[in-house]
Symmetry: C2
């Protein structure tokens, strides 16, 4: 059960409805969103990015400055570190994600490394702090949202300061006018409404680094930092849904199951499908890897769906051997719950009779399909 | 408390975060969404709109046909009929909306009347049924989503078959390639993924007309159809939020409260503000009515915020005397809960000390602000 406070978060921060897995690039408005505080209302004309701290040449860059430089673009699958949180038992109180806190976009902007090179980072530098314009209170700490990266991560080829998402200026809720994009890492790393880049000679210990986003076994455990996405595969729920329960009904016959899989740790190497709740597994067919290393990989599986009740799921493994688990390890923050998604599907011989939009006088009342709400 | 089934709906169907009330036209992805079944994946090249039933000239119109005709555009505030449902007591089980199931867009397309005139509606016609491509099961009825309008409503000047939203093709989740837009009516009227327009010589009694969307006092009550939006005003929550509770903290001084108000029944005539939980009310300043009759009306109110705890709210009245209530009437479906939005605000003399993104060694621990989580 979810409290009204958690519902306030769920109403603001939405997932990607899983049928949108059909799109290789998630359409605007369907990409998941997690916003800690409020969406800032930014006047891009008055905005500039400050690059400061342990640098020989501090920088102040306007949006025009950024747009005048060489652009890079990368397709990135981004997932919230809390994806799956609401499925943990015991319950973890925070943004109550089911499994749909994910999306893929093409992010266009300038290379982070080029900015750091221009600012001439001093030898003492160890971490880079990224600070957004979003302000709020969390864990009793008043703060602007800020996260850091080790210097060597910030210098990676594919780390981008992005001003476009899918060939359009960033939407307000995705960080307009500028955000950080760090392929492979969970969403909290990708600081939105970026205002400052601060080079530090010692590790950053702000709230979002030292208290949030740590994999803690119990309240007194300091835990390890949550960083790169663990492997996950999701599938487009087959058939049609019941409105409230989302229970699925499918007509018997060949059904091509489809979905996508990703890992922040290494390329996806293998996806397996079960249509019997995990008793047996068969390999799925991986699609061409045409979005590149940092985006999800499509897969399909041809299922001969016979009448009856079925439980359908998929699991992914990456090239360094990380495998998606049947059950994930509970932790205090409710992070990285990548447990297999099981979809219950009622397969009916003749499918479902439709209500026809004719007249009231002759309104047909279809037979109660299996899979409907009891 | 909300069940996991209701959470599944809340994670798919998101509201508009209320700070987005600052935008007169809601940016893409922030407009509320309510999708009964799944988002259909439509091939617009293979798609066409059928106009059929009690007409002398049935039509089949492609997207190119529609785009070749004279275009009309109208700015429309759209609200879900279930907005406010989760705030009713006793609890109503369905999509658990708080207050943010609203948004405003510019919808561009062709006049519905022009299509009906071309099809030559027969004298027997009384209602027009609009059927979408979205299929599912609801109340044990398998169906394509379908709603009707009385003929005279469908013939109104401002009723549009829309193929663009805010100068871009409809997003998949907003009905691509074509949807109905009926200004003034609640969201369920505005059928998405439109595939058929059927002219009937008798009233339509499909599920979404005869069973859902009726204002029923108890289970045995047939109730009245839910149609036009009742007046509502919402305000941008002032100050900054606490992450989980969304509790607001504001620095003492002049704070310009702002928000928007709308009614489907008549223009907004008056908005009042209370900063003391309803003990006293003062008029707000209405903004210029520049989006036209069918969109919300902005308002502002200059508040001298003094230290202490405050309860801030607004209420609207329209030109035919409908007034937003302090408490709405409970009903079986949980519709039209337009009760005043109260925002608790803790006003502090010196505002909130920020965490600064410097180093770990000297991490400041700000004083616990008033308004933080207990």
């Amino acid at each position: 059960m979810i409290s009204l406070e958690e519902l306030q978060l769920a109403a603001r921060n939405h997932g990607m409805p899983l049928e949108a897995l059909r799109h290789p690039i998630t359409p605007a408005g369907l990409h998941y969103l997690l916003i800690h505080y409020d969406i800032p209302f930014v006047d891009a004309g008055a905005w500039a990015l400050d690059v400061e701290g342990a640098v020989a040449q501090p920088q102040r860059l306007t949006l025009d400055d950024l747009r005048a430089r060489e652009a890079v673009e990368v397709a990135v699958t981004m997932e919230c570190a809390g994806n799956g949180r609401a499925l943990f038992d015991p319950h973890v109180v925070s943004q109550p994600w089911l499994r749909d806190a994910v999306g893929t976009a093409r992010w266009r902007g300038i290379s982070m490394r080029s900015v750091l090179e221009e600012a001439r980072v001093e030898d003492s530098a160890v971490e880079i702090v990224f600070t957004g314009l979003d302000r709020g209170i969390e864990g009793d700490v008043a703060q602007e949202y800020a996260r850091s990266l080790p210097l060597e991560e910030a210098m990676r080829d594919e780390v981008v300061l992005a001003y476009e998402m899918n060939s359009a200026p960033l939407l307000p809720q995705h960080g307009y006018p500028l955000r950080l994009v760090v392929p492979g890492w969970y969403g909290m790393t990708n600081v939105k409404w970026l205002s400052r880049v601060t080079v530090l000679a010692e590790p950053f210990a702000g709230y979002q680094q030292s208290r949030a986003y740590r994999m803690r076994a119990h309240e007194d455990d300091d835990g390890e930092a949550v960083q790169r996405m663990v492997p996950r595969s999701l599938l487009v729920p087959p058939g049609i849904p019941e409105f409230l329960t989302r229970a699925r009904t499918l007509r018997a016959g060949i059904c091509v199951l489809e979905g996508r899989a990703w890992s922040g740790q290494a390329p996806i190497e293998h996806v397996e499908i079960s249509v019997d709740g995990g008793a047996t597994w068969e390999p799925a067919q991986l699609a061409a890897d045409d979005l590149g290393r940092w985006a999800w990989r499509g897969w399909t599986y041809e299922w001969e769906a016979r009448p009856g009740a079925h439980r359908v799921g998929s699991r992914a493994r990456d090239a360094v051997g990380n495998a998606q688990p049947l059950a994930a390890t509970w932790n205090v923050g409710g992070y990285a719950n990548s447990a297999v998604q099981w979809v219950n599907v009622a397969v009916a011989e003749f499918g479902v009779t439709r209500e026809r939009a004719r007249s009231g006088a002759s309104r047909p009342r279809p037979a109660r399909p299996s899979g409907s709400r009891a």
